[in-house]
Amino acid sequence: MAAGVLTGVRQVLRGPRLVSAVFSCHGQTFSSAAAAPDTGETKILNFPLTQPDYFRLSELFTLKDLFEARVHLGHKKGCRHRLMEPYLFGSRLDTDIIDLEQTAEHLQRALNFTAHVAYRGGIILFVSRRRQFGHLIETTARECGEYAHTRYWKGGLLTNASIQYSPGVRLPDLILFFSTLNNVFQQHVGIRDAAKMNIPTVGIVDSNCNPSLITYPVPGNDDTPVAMEMYCRLFKMTINRAKDKRRQMELLKGISASV
């Protein structure tokens, strides 16, 4: 069911104008090399999400890796969120088990989307409110060259940005939630704000989280250190791959850096 909704979204996103609406709502325009012939690179710039795995991200992880990182372990039956039921495989001894086949699919799609955003020089914001992993996430973000926010989320950071920061600020083009709940088990304000500002989100949703407003939910465990380290590693590798590919393309084909 969720997979069907997402493929529908992908079909809608196929048109170039709406692709630009997703990426460029924040005061920036992106120029396309439409004048050049329709080669592979321009195709990837105009119709990015038609190719399922341009950056070959499925070789970064296997189902076995996810299992060994304990991504399948959810919370107890009492904490289960109703909208997470399609993603659960079942429950064993009251603990919910997340369906790793669905997780793998969703994770691959999320990584692909992140790679495309990074390829186009988009700003990616890593968000999490778990203090246990805050330092790890900030370090990962710094090493990728992207941005992190693992601290107290002030009210108007996205919605009131021109006053909170300076008038000409550029908002993030993608927000990655490594845990969608904040410290009082409520949904992180960033999810709703990103939806208001038309910023796509990728979120690791555990069995007690609400996956509705997130563009690319990834059902998985967000409590175990092994699982979080794996996610950080995967996203870092994705972003680095995409940026390296971009640099390569710029050197070879001379595409300008503004795209």
């Binding site: 170039p16 104008r17 630009s20 609406a21 460029s24 709502c25 924040h26 005061g27 920036q28 325009t29 992106f30 120029s31 396309s32 090399a33 439409a34 004048a35 020089g121 700003i123 914001l125 330092h135 900030e138 973000a141 710094r142 060259g145 992207e146 941005y147 992190a148 926010h149 601290r151 002030k154 950071l157 021109s162 006053i163 909170q164 920061y165 300076s166 008038p167 000409g168 600020v169 550029r170 993030p172 300008s256 850096a257 503004s258």
Partner: protein, 385 residues
């Protein structure tokens, strides 16, 4: 169609501020030939609250011009005063300005001043993102980037020390009695000082969190690895007793040491000569102290400084006092004796005297009578109707 859309957007940006214009113009220079995509965006995004977010108050060029003018002005001032422009320091500038523009204003900050622009114009943050709009700092979107990056660094150091501890434990070399950082005589920087360093406003809770983290760092056995980092956040306290002016020890023709000091209390002024002869006589205004101060309390006041340092019978005191009443005169004499004693006493004793209150001048003076009242505090009889 796309091009006209772009022009329309650009004109909106022209109206609403220089940043957008600069950003736009530079980007269009980079991609001159290629058509631009349409942007569909709510108009509320383009409208800026100009009242709330003012433009950057002083641009870097303005400040550079001010610095230039200051340097030139400094040389002119040196020439005017007839001094060498090369070795004209800030103290010389202050002195010259005070000479050329004498001001009787009480408020020191209202007087004419000539200082380097760095000290006059407040430090401001420059634009924090590059030409593409990507912020420079990885914690920019938190709002308080310097503060949170500081917390990040402190936590990083804590983790590094823990890893070091584990390594030592593995090797079997772990000891709890390692070199500890000396913290006596210093205090943590205040919230205002940290705000100044970070060029950001932080709340009280933020400040307390930072101090908590630093204390955590200090509680670890191997914290001496990060001593330099921690001492950056501590400020040395000056020793209070070093501020006192000790009267010079003089010698009279017989070789006897003596010192002279003054003291005041209410409106009494006293002057004391303390001679190191060794009899313990006290003469005030030419009369013996027993005659001058019949009241025991006043004589005790005279004794107290000598009793405190334990040099009762060692000195000969010759004093003159005028003004006010007997108690105030005794107090003035006591302060004068304590000050004169400073030249005969060691450093540690000076600190002890200061803590005993012997060197503090009593600031209490007679409160004035107010109109509509009987005295300073006493009111006229209150009548209900």
């Amino acid at each position: 169609m796309a091009a006209s859309g772009c022009r329309g957007v650009r004109s909106i940006l022209w109206k609403y501020g220089s940043y957008g214009k600069n950003l736009f113009v530079s980007r269009s220079k980079m991609v001159p030939q290629l058509p631009l995509r349409q942007i569909y965006v709510a108009s509320s995004l383009w409208k800026k609250n100009l009242a709330a977010a003012g433009p950057q108050k002083f641009t870097q060029e303005f400040i550079d011009k001010q610095v230039e003018e200051f340097e030139v002005g400094k040389r002119h001032l040196a020439n005017m005063m007839g001094e060498d422009p090369e070795t004209f320091t800030q103290e010389d500038i202050d002195r010259s300005i005070a000479y050329l523009f004498p001001s009787g204003l009480f408020e020191k900050r209202a007087r004419p001043v000539m200082k380097h622009p760095e000290e006059i114009f407040p430090k401001q943050t420059a634009i924090q993102w590059d030409a593409e709009g990507r912020p420079f700092h990885f914690l920019f979107y938190t709002g308080k980037q310097s503060y949170y990056s500081l917390l990040h660094d402190v936590y990083e150091k804590i983790l590094a020390i823990e890893r070091h501890q584990d390594k030592m434990r593995n090797k079997g070399l772990f000891t709890s009695d390692t070199k500890q950082i000396l913290l006596t005589g210093s205090r943590w920087l205040l919230k205002e000082e940290i705000e100044e360093n970070l060029v950001e406003n932080i709340s009280v809770q933020d400040y307390m969190r930072l101090i908590q983290l630093m204390e955590l760092l200090l509680s670890m056995p191997y914290c001496s690895l990060e001593e330099e980092f921690i001492l950056k956040f501590r400020k040395q306290l000056e020793v209070q007793s070093s501020k006192y002016e000790i009267p010079a020890l003089q010698y009279d023709p017989q070789g006897v040491a003596f010192s002279v000091a003054d003291g005041r209390r209410k409106s009494a002024k006293a002057s004391i000569t303390l001679r190191d002869s060794g009899s313990g006589n006290i003469t005030i205004n030419g009369r013996n102290y027993l005659h001058y101060f019949p009241v025991l309390q006043n004589r005790e006041q005279l004794m107290f400084p000598l009793l405190f340092v334990g040099m009762m019978g060692r000195f000969d005191i010759e004093g003159s006092v005028e003004g006010s009443g007997h108690s105030a005169q005794a107090g003035a004499l006591r302060l004068a004796i304590s000050r004169a004693l400073l030249s005969f006493v060691s450093e540690g004793e000076v600190e002890k005297m200061r803590q005993a209150g012997l060197l503090t001048a009593d600031p209490r003076i007679r409160e004035r009578k107010k109109p509509g009242q009987e005295g300073a505090r006493k009111k006229f009889t209150w009548k209900k109707r």
